[in-house]
Amino acid sequence: MSIAPAEHETRPETRSEDYLWTLNFGPQHPATHTTLRLVLKLEGERVVDAEPEMGYLHSGFEKIGEHLTFNQYVTVTDRMNYISPMANNVAWHHAVETLLGIELTPRGTYIRTIIAELARISDHLLCNGAVGLDTGAFTFFLYGFYQREVIYDIFETLCGARFTNSYTRVGGVSQDFTPLVIEKIRSFLKTFPKTLLDMERLLNRNRIFVDRTKGVGLLTKEEAINRGATGPVARASGVTRDLRRDEPYLAYADLDFQVCCASAGDCYARYLVRMQEMRESLKIVEQALENLPEGPVNVGIDQRTSLPIKQQVYSTIEGTISHFELAMSNRGFEVPCEETYAAIEAPNGELGFYLVGDGDDRAYRARCRPPSVQNFAMFPHLIRVPTLSDVVSEHGSLNIIAAELDR
């Protein structure tokens, strides 16, 4: 085989993109935190382009939602954002109750508010802790993780499960608060502010941390709205939208709290917003706990909407009948042939479910609107200028959870 002389003699033409180097960031990488992938185009250390890819953890949750009953599906929502499963439980049954038109008891709404806020604290602790970890602050991460353990202990005392709680039920929750749970939450309220202060002292003015997060991953207010950002990511860019205040659900209308916002729109602002939100969550939990109404936690058995507690099932005829009917197919909930959307302010942003009912006690369609998708979709926009080391802090500050992203 002879080489054509022309090809042999002339040097191949060089283009600027020939010097670009492609780096696969993930799907298995400690700094992606979960299974997702970024294809980065690097010029030296500068990131020229990034292409996010998802789907590595796709498990067909929405399809499963069409085959499980409203009470069964709560176990699947645990596995969506597994950093704060309680918030997902609350979101799911909030949506179901909106569709069915069930009004919770006062005690039920307060209990759900408390656990949703505890879930927010544990989510923010992990997210901020991971940002610290990725930028080299390991102590900070461990401080956060220790407090997460305390919250896990509270949840374990509450419902027996530490991680996948599946705590809520249609029309109520699976277990009422016991005095021990209340005592544990009170002691957490006492000890946590000190840790929070320690954490802030560790990082807020830490030179390395500030250098690596300030001015990195800038997102303007207009872009944040146009790209559908919600939650702390949007609030750090100056969007003052918080469903807890703007569309009060559960007990939020009765409680006093601030919506935490920043205008810088960088990773540091997101960190500060999350730190501040934890303080506000503490305030909410404290108020809700001190004003916890007495009375039944679940909707009464005469309404035939929530599963009666076991005591009633075993000792009263009404409880037995109600449980039996609700457990039978086509005798359970009265589901309207209608469609509703209901969302809550999950730790990550707006977590909503669009439910279509067709009279059956399982959803005809259970669309989940996860906040992570929009956060991840805007990644290439945030990433154009910076260096490879900024990718890590940006990624951490968006708090993308692949299980919620792919569903």
């Binding site: 998802m54 789907g55 069409e66 872009e223 042939c337 969302a343 067709d358 005809y364 609107r369």
Partner: protein
């Protein structure tokens, strides 16, 4: 089979935004349920309607999704697209729906209006096989590129059609 206990919210007046859309598109099917305003627009006027609503203050596109009404009692169309809009200034919400049908379910992309629609429409294409004309990058979002079916359609079985068993197995020698 509607729940009679909660009819009070259903007597809310129709939102002025819906009235404005009706002025532009002619009479439309609209309803209020549990306090949520919903309007159905013809698929060919979707982009125009959403542009109008964006100008009227609905600056946040919360979600784009789809429902396959194949097994739904009394449904006239197969696919119902859902656009959930919200306003960050007034906190109003509006659900805009449009129906498309087989064999070529197609609708205009709203990426020119909201960049947020990019991945949401890709997901709808992936899961339901609805084409969005004018979308800059209509690829599958979560399923593998080589996948042929659209899994959230109602005629697709829960356990799949055996795709999992036929994935190519890469051994160490051939990788």
């Amino acid at each position: 089979m509607t729940n009679a206990s909660d009819t009070s919210t259903d007597t809310l007046p129709i939102s002025p935004h819906v009235a404005a859309v009706e002025q532009a598109c002619g009479p439309l099917e609209h309803s209020v349920y549990r306090g949520q305003q919903r309007v159905v627009v013809p698929a060919e006027k979707l982009l125009e309607t959403l542009a109008l609503l964006k100008d009227r203050g609905f600056d946040l596109l919360v979600d784009v999704s789809c429902v396959d009404y194949l097994e739904y009692r009394g449904a006239a169309h197969r696919y119902g697209l859902i656009y959930l809009l919200a306003s960050t200034a007034t906190n109003e919400r509006l659900t805009v729906r449009a129906f498309v049908d087989d064999p070529e379910p197609t609708v205009a992309s709203v990426v020119p209006l909201w960049k947020a629609a990019n991945w949401l429409e890709r997901e709808v294409w992936d899961m339901f096989g609805i084409r969005f004309t004018g979308h800059p990058d209509l690829r599958r979002l979560v399923m593998p590129e080589a996948f042929t079916a659209h899994p959230l359609r109602k005629d697709y079985p829960l356990q799949g059609r055996g795709e999992r068993h036929n994935f190519p197995v890469i051994t160490r020698d051939h990788s």
